[in-house]
């Protein structure tokens, strides 16, 4: 496709070059890869229709981000922000009851790496991975209003720090530090679970995790966990902390020996798509996507997303044949 008359040199191909980074941006704003995909599609359509009004003065990228932000805002109107179980429920101990499921729209969901990670040099890639970690995405949904205002005014609307300071009746220093505070809030939510860099042994931990399931070795799995490890499984509010309760739940769920595993990349973290038969000996069906936070060779969190509709996004079938 070539550029529209009056649209200068901008072509459909040029718009498409921004699809992946815009998907990452919309995912960070919305907390759902399904919604992010729809938002980017809508933003691309709006951009294409408005190309004749595009002025090169500010550049294509900021213009597309502004359109995408508007789409995300439209999608977010009148709706609660998405969360993780540990944001909305007390940690469970004792009987470990799964409880009722909440709607998909209630929860932050995972995203395939290939849809949201940007390319670039290793430093850019590391930053890109950091910015889509599950805990980071969840924290973004719940930034304090002032931090969100600073982010939107500075990064999207391109206001100068001095202008933001006057608007918010504060100092330029305070505005600049609000950006840092936003990062600190995110780090707090992250519970020190963000690794300093993606380690080669992440994949070894994932392999050991899968191996433990396949060998029916619950003790081997528990040995991979940090003392403060958590396990959560949206759409249920249930979440637990510590190897003892996670072990108890794994035994109760009776998952060992029945499941089949397909390693994937999600949220810049090691992850695995899990298939499970509906009855013993049955065909393995898409069951869950599990994203691991690995810190220093141990598992800090297991985010289990019980959503078979995610499998298509990872290019995986909904069931496994022979």
């Amino acid at each position: 496709m070539s550029g529209l008359p009056g649209s200068g040199a901008v072509t459909a191909e040029q718009l498409e070059e921004y699809r992946r980074e815009l998907t990452g941006y919309c995912y960070r704003m919305l907390g759902s890869i399904h919604e992010a995909e729809d938002a980017v599609q809508d933003a691309m359509l709006r951009a294409w229709r408005a190309l004749d009004r595009f002025e090169d003065r500010e550049g294509l990228r900021p213009w597309l981000y502004r359109i995408a932000t508007n789409v995300c805002i439209d999608l977010s109107k009148g709706r609660a922000r998405r969360a993780l179980p540990m944001d909305v429920a007390a940690v469970q101990t004792g009987e470990l009851v799964r409880g009722d499921a909440r709607p998909e729209a209630f929860w932050v969901g995972p995203a395939p790496d290939q849809m949201v990670l940007s390319g670039g040099d290793p430093e850019d890639q590391a930053l890109s991975r950091e910015s889509v970690r599950i805990a980071f995405i969840a924290a973004l949904q719940h930034l304090a209003p002032r931090q969100r205002a600073v982010l939107i005014l500075r990064d999207v609307l391109r206001w100068r720090a001095a202008e933001v300071a006057v608007l918010l009746e504060t100092s330029t220093t305070a505005v600049n530090s609000a950006l840092r505070r936003a990062r600190e809030a995110i780090d707090d939510a992250d519970r020190d679970l963000t690794p300093s860099e993606p380690a080669a042994d992440d994949h070894a931990v994932l392999a050991a995790y899968i191996d433990a399931f396949e060998r029916d070795d619950v003790e081997g799995l528990v040995a991979l966990l940090r003392e403060d490890a958590i396990l959560e499984m949206p759409p249920f509010e249930l979440w637990m902390r510590g190897p003892a309760d996670i072990r108890k739940w794994m035994l109760k769920a009776d998952a060992f020996g029945q499941e089949r595993f397909a390693p994937v990349g999600a949220n810049g973290s090691p992850a695995v798509a899990v298939y499970r038969p509906r009855e013993p000996g049955g065909v393995p069906q898409a069951f869950s996507v599990q994203v691991l936070d690995v810190v220093d060779g141990r598992i800090g969190a297991i985010h289990v997303f019980l959503d078979p509709t995610l499998f298509g996004l990872f290019g995986l079938p909904s069931e496994l044949g022979d």
Binding site: T69, K77, L143, P145, R148, I152, W159, V166, L167
Partner: protein, 83 residues
């Protein structure tokens, strides 16, 4: 932009702006209103947005500016309560 017909009386140092016409509310609207607020502040005036409809209040809240800009609801509605 004209003062709202149903606007409450404000002292001369305060400016009331009818924004009921501002649909659809989008990020350009937020940008414009925030800049008006900024200009008013620099002139020593206080800006009140009156008649915010069509999701403008939600939009400002989403942007973290709900408590920064002085927003009153649609005509006949009381001013939005702040949390």
């Amino acid at each position: 932009m004209s003062p709202g017909q149903n606007a409450p009386d404000f002292p001369a140092s305060e400016v009331d702006l009818d924004v009921s016409w501002l649909v659809p509310a989008d990020l350009s609207a937020v940008d414009a209103l925030a800049r008006l607020h900024l200009t008013a502040a620099r002139c020593g005036r206080s800006l009140h947005l009156h008649g915010a409809c069509g999701g403008l209040s939600e939009l400002l809240d989403f942007c973290g500016l709900g408590d920064v800009l002085n927003v009153c609801g649609c005509a006949g509605q009381p001013a939005r309560e702040r949390q």
